[in-house]
Amino acid sequence: MAASSDTAPKTNAKTTGDDGGHSAGLSRWLVVAIPYLWLAIFFVAPFLIIFKISLSDTAIAIPPYTPVFEGFGAIGDFVSQLDFENYVFLTDDPLYIEAYISSLKIALVSTVLLLIVGYPMALAMARASSTIRPTLVMLVILPFWTSFLIRVYAWIGILKPDGLLTLLLHAIGLMGPDDQVQIFRTDTAVYIGMVYSYLPFMVLPLYSALEKMDHSLIEAANDLGCPPWKAFWKITFPLSLPGVIAGSMICFIPITGEFVIPDLLGGADTLMIGKTLWTEFFGNRDWPLASAVAVVLLVLLVVPIMVFQNQQKKVA
């Protein structure tokens, strides 16, 4: 009896294992391959092209660099003309290093500001009654209905010396009629633009981390003698860390390379690598140097991306 009951499940397992095993394997392979193919075509290939350009020299030609790949026959000649002099140049001119550092600083400060503004919002959303939560999420996403460029442009209208903010301050009497707000074309304007534009990207991951938290954890902490504000630091905040990290990375990485906001709202002295890149590319038409700037920017951002990846793995 023991023997027969032993063999029965085995034969069962075998038949189910053979059934449709191939088609399942193929479809699984396809599902995995599609995103990789996407990445290969739209990320790896362009990156390799940029990297190649960064090793080239400027030329007054179309395209504005040499050498140009002319087939495998001349490949030895082609490779011998590539060198790293653009990268050396980046380290020689302090402008680039300062631009990188300034970008990282602006990204860091913006991310901290975003956390300070976004966390209470996300917390309030997560604690709101479940009937209005979808509406609140909708409201956070609502700005995406309008073009990003137009929304940043609108801030010029608010922040410029004779703009809406000045008018408002005049109207409520907080500012004399002869004074004007001097925010437009300063770093402050850049920070305002950054926080405004990236807020949804900070709020949504925070919200999703806070929303799935069991409220009875807070009650348990209160019950054990922990007052509410302390329970926040001991329970809520540590448990929302995955959301804090996700939101910070999602904001920090694109802010570092941000071009539109510093270009529209920043002053002449607002140094950001995105702007430098734009100048090299369109102003100086130095494609090889611009490519080198882009490659270095990417390498700089690999570090936070890896931190993010690591965190995601830990959560999983």
Binding site: D214, S216, L217, E219, A220, A221, N222, D223, L224, G225, C226, P227, P228, K230, K234, I235, P238, L239
Partner: protein, 385 residues
């Protein structure tokens, strides 16, 4: 079978003593959520060292009542007294009560040790004192080897123990248990029930447990309050609740019972004076020996527990017992008991349970047999509510 027996239990009934001061008093408590009244003008006394259960279906207000004692909800009206002091306005983090949550609410980012120490750290005890108390608690719930684990590395039963240890660590005056064993499987639940009783007994604490599981309430409690729609229907010991329910609701909620509508034909009983009550239920004559306020002509309910009904193929010899005749419609064999569903001559259905005292695979009474159901006059119940 329990592995180790705790100290022998003594009879405990402070509620019978008119001089005893209640430990917890709910005084005319009403709680409304919008237009919904969760608890309706409820008054209840709980005594020190009592193991008290709030029992009822979901939505009866039992959890709300407990949450008001913990401080998570404020009563709309009324006062809650703990040792004579009004605690209605004391925030939860200042109350000498601790709660074990239904979901356990263990802090997922802390180890077992840290979870248990959490409450003690809030009290700013010294490091050594905290470590000592944590160790004591781990020993109490037999989790010494698991001190460094995180909650997600534990089984459901172990998590339940951590939650218990954490809520006991501060030595609360009252421990509140919200469906504490709901997530455990049957065997583990039964074991844990006895452990809970032992812990309560050895620590000498007052336990208030909320449950919808009547068996659990029966096993662990000194007294049970059966609740329905925000009010208490009956407060009594498990035996009283089972044997002398005060209403159809309680009788039906606790255990299995046969209930039929009946009219009082003749009564020699009044309040304070037990006597024979004769009933007529659609032509069926029934007699019950009981203290009962119903008078002749009243419509009441007659109730009897299945295990108090004897089933036999032969008619009864004794004329004084209640007897009905019917056909065995169905049999539920439960191992220790068999439940017979008998269709009476008038079409009504009655259940009788019989302990399977002899080891027989083929029972003498089987489907389709004509049988007599009999019970003595003391076995049935007249329910006026």
């Amino acid at each position: 079978m329990a592995k180790t027996l705790g100290p022998v239990k003594r009879k405990f009934s402070p509620w019978m003593d008119p001089a005893a001061e209640p430990f917890i008093r709910f005084e005319n408590i009403t709680k409304r959520f919008g237009t919904f009244t969760a608890v309706d003008n409820l008054t209840l006394d709980i005594y020190e060292r009592e193991f008290f259960s709030l029992l009822g279906p979901s939505g009866c207000g039992k959890t709300t009542l407990m949450r008001m004692l913990a401080g998570f909800e404020e009563p709309t009206e009324g006062r809650i007294l703990l040792q004579g002091k009004d605690i209605s306005n004391v925030p939860p983090y200042k109350r000498p009560t601790n709660m074990m949550f239904q979901s356990y609410a263990l802090f997922p980012h802390m180890t077992v040790e840290k979870n248990i120490a959490f409450g003690l750290e809030q009290d700013k005890l010294s490091k050594g004192e905290i470590a000592g108390r944590v160790e004591e608690m781990l020993k109490l719930v037999k989790l010494e080897q698991f001190a460094k684990r995180k909650p997600n590395q534990l089984s459901g039963g172990q998590r339940q123990r951590v939650a218990l240890a954490r809520s006991l660590a501060k030595r609360p005056k009252v421990l509140l248990l919200d469906e504490p064993l709901g997530a455990l499987d049957k065997k583990l639940r039964e074991e844990t029930q006895f452990e809970l009783m032992d812990i309560q007994h050895s620590l000498g604490l007052t336990f208030l447990i909320v449950t919808h599981d009547q068996e659990e309430a029966m096993t662990v409690s000194d007294r049970i309050a059966v609740m329905d729609k925000g009010v208490i229907v009956q407060v009594a010991t498990p035996a009283e609740i089972y044997e002398a329910p005060n209403s159809r609701y309680v009788a039906d909620f606790i255990g299995d019972i046969n209930i039929v509508e009946a009219a009082v034909k003749e009564t020699r009983s009044a309040l304070g004076a037990p006597g024979l009550v004769e009933l007529d239920s659609k032509g069926l004559s029934l007699a019950v020996e009981q203290e009962c306020a119903a008078v002749r002509g009243d419509t009441v309910a007659f109730a009897i527990r299945p295990e108090k009904v004897r089933i036999s193929a032969d008619p009864p010899l004794d004329r004084s017992v209640n007897a009905v005749h019917g056909e065995v419609w169905d049999i539920g064999y439960l191992g220790d008991f068999s439940v017979f569903i008998v269709k009476l001559e008038d079409g009504r259905v009655m259940r009788a349970a019989q302990a399977n005292v002899s080891r027989l695979v083929d029972r003498p009474i089987t489907f389709g047999d004509m049988v007599w159901l009999t019970w003595p006059v003391e076995a049935g119940l007249v329910l006026t509510r």
